[in-house]
């Protein structure tokens, strides 16, 4: 995926057993931080 391309929508479970969907957050920019190590 390159800069400028449309990001396909996705849904992932969150820490509260909810569902977080990208397209629900279009009112503002979104910063996605992909975690590295789990230590």
């Amino acid at each position: 995926m390159d800069v400028g391309q449309a990001v396909d929508d996705f849904t992932l479970p969150d820490q509260d057993n909810g569902q977080w969907r990208l397209s629900d957050h279009r009112d503002r920019q979104v910063l996605l931080i992909f975690h590295r190590h789990l230590m």
Binding site: V7, L12, P13, Q29, V30
Partner: protein
Amino acid sequence: MSDRFGKLDSVHIAVVTFAQAGELAAHRAHLGLEFPMLADPERRIYQRFGLGQGSIREVWNPGTLRLYARLLIRGRRLRRPRHNTRQLGGDFVIDTDGRLLAAFRPRSPDDRPSIDDLAAYLN
């Protein structure tokens, strides 16, 4: 609060992990995060964003070891890794029109964009 941190308040921030969904609450508390934490244990979204695995040499480089040393000095309790430590992370800004505005794909865990790097792309 400086403008650069203020910009972070004006965006939606979510942390994607490759933990199982049932581990998220404890993991979020361990890291002291306030942002939503999401589970992608099959790393489907990681792959979609082009995030692969680094080599052992890339991941466990001196910079990574210094990073963990600093965390220990600050009082962070490190846990034995239960997941793939070679998975690389990344940082992405998505604009309100749904397009990818910025992509940071580091080659090692210690190679991360600064707040200033990220703030340059935020409204």
